[in-house]
């Protein structure tokens, strides 16, 4: 039986009085790649941010419903939010390395989680960069500024930075939209590698990327302007892209919307 990492039940989400998500219920499988697709502004990123409570940082937001990570309610008072965000790492649209060296970027997380031993940190940095398919390219320039790397390398560095704190889940919000096709391919290959060890949830506007990298695809849509987004269809990626069951999904992925 497939292990469920995230169990989302009847999730509603508000920005102030605006309801952005309505009644989202979905099980996200462990060690699989799940892609969220949908038109701009339909709440995909909002949903992603609910999964590691990044929305808590935005004022006047609230949720109803439940989100369980490995059976634990992540919105219960007992959850340590910093630890939650370690377990559920996030990669953003634009690579955002810290303005420090390659090494320090990766060592930063383990350090604030209490690892001070230099040898141990060296190991973590090498292992994380290696898992992010970047070690060979940067092993001789670990102490150069991270911002001197190419955009694609910076994005893989951000992945290494997430891996360094030993997460269970990696959230990716349009991770390839700001990088070139060759780097995109490297990230996509990496996603395929990483799912052996991590659960990956990706938001993408690139339909073909969703088709290429994901095992499951979820389609979110807000049918009325200023109305909330709902989960329209969720199935294996193969079904969504060859024979979707809902007409709205079909119209969206074939470009017949609006």
């Amino acid at each position: 039986m497939v292990k469920v990492t995230f169990k989302v039940q009847n999730l509603d989400f508000w920005y102030g009085t605006f309801k952005a998500l309505e009644n989202i219920t979905i099980d996200i499988s462990a060690n699989k790649v799940t892609a969220f697709i949908g038109p701009s502004g339909c709440g995909k990123s909002t949903f992603l941010r609910c999964l590691n409570r990044m929305n808590d940082l935005i004022e006047e937001t609230r949720i109803e419903g439940k989100i369980f990570l490995d059976g634990e309610d992540i919105y219960s008072g007992e959850v340590n939010v910093a630890d939650l965000r370690r377990r559920v790492g996030m990669i953003f649209q634009h690579p955002n390395p810290f303005p420090m060296s390659v090494y320090e970027n990766v060592a930063y997380g383990p350090r604030i989680h209490g690892i001070k031993d230099k040898k141990r940190l060296d190991e973590i940095v090498e292992k994380s960069l290696d898992k992010a398919a970047l070690w060979k390219e940067v092993k001789d320039k670990l102490h150069t500024p991270a911002l001197s790397l190419s955009g694609g390398q910076q994005q893989r560095l951000c992945i290494a930075r997430v891996l360094a704190v030993n997460p269970e889940v990696i959230l990716m919000d349009e991770p390839c939209s700001a990088i070139d096709p060759t780097s995109t391919q490297k990230i996509e290959d990496l996603i395929d590698e990483l799912k052996q060890s991590y659960t990956i949830i990706i938001v993408t506007h690139n339909m073909m990327q969703a088709a290429r990298v994901s095992d499951f695809t979820a389609f979110l849509l807000a049918e009325n302007t200023n109305g909330p987004a709902k989960l329209i269809e969720y199935d294996s990626t193969e079904v969504i892209f060859t024979n979707p069951k809902d007409k709205r999904t079909e119209n969206y992925i074939t470009g017949r919307f609006g």
């Binding site: 999904t249 074939t254 017949r256």
Partner: protein, 218 residues
């Protein structure tokens, strides 16, 4: 951009239906050539086959180009997939009509009496074959699942007539020219039977196009 892609898809479908009509024309001409022993009509089949071959290659190239440039998914992908298969079936049906026409050329050279019972059987088979072919193209044109699923039933009498053909053959004269004439007619009946089988296969592709599920017809 996308709008023009969907326009191109519509055009591609129209082109397949157009080739389908040409194949129907070839089959009709080939049948008339057999029934009338008319070599002129056989020549017209040869000419029409060149057109069918050219058109099916164009369809294939357009289909591949759309896959490469537009990354089609869902029903668009299924349409292109079906178009590529259906055009192959149509091309082969055209080839079988071509073979019938070639057989007519041979028949007209045999100094033998025509065996009317065999001509009649070919005529009947031909009528049913034209029906099933026409229905297969209509099912594709209109995305008509119900009609596609009726194709095996329309094909049944053809298989029955094909068997009757062998019984009639046994009653034919064993004289050398008569035998040559009759066995050529058997070949023609086989071509008709194969044409109808291709039409049923087109129906299977239509069913996939509409439902997204592969199902072999009985």
């Amino acid at each position: 951009m996308r709008k023009s892609f969907h326009e191109e898809l519509k055009d591609l479908k129209k082109e397949v239906v157009e080739v389908g009509k040409q194949v129907e024309k070839s089959i009709a001409l080939a049948l008339e050539a057999v029934i009338e022993g008319n070599a002129e009509k056989a020549n017209a089949v040869f000419q029409n086959d060149d057109l069918i071959d050219k058109k099916t290659i164009e369809i294939e190239e357009k289909g591949i180009s759309l896959v490469a440039t537009q990354s089609p998914v869902a029903r668009d992908l299924r349409l292109i997939h079906s178009v590529l298969f259906i055009s192959i079936h149509l091309e082969r049906m055209g080839d079988l009509a071509f073979n019938m026409a070639k057989a007519v050329k041979h028949l007209t050279k045999i100094p033998s009496e025509r065996e009317n019972s065999l001509v009649e059987l070919i005529s009947k088979m031909g009528e049913h074959t034209r029906q099933v072919v026409s229905a297969s193209i209509e099912a594709f044109e209109k995305n008509d699942l119900k009609l596609a699923e009726e194709l095996p039933k329309l094909d049944e009498p053809i298989d029955g007539l094909f068997k009757d053909f062998f019984k009639a053959l046994a009653r034919c004269s064993a004289e050398e020219h008569s035998l040559d004439w009759a066995t050529t007619m058997v070949l023609i009946s086989r071509y008709l039977e194969r044409i109808a089988d291709h039409a049923v296969d087109i129906g299977e592709r239509v069913a996939y196009l509409v439902t997204g599920e592969f199902k072999e017809f009985d």
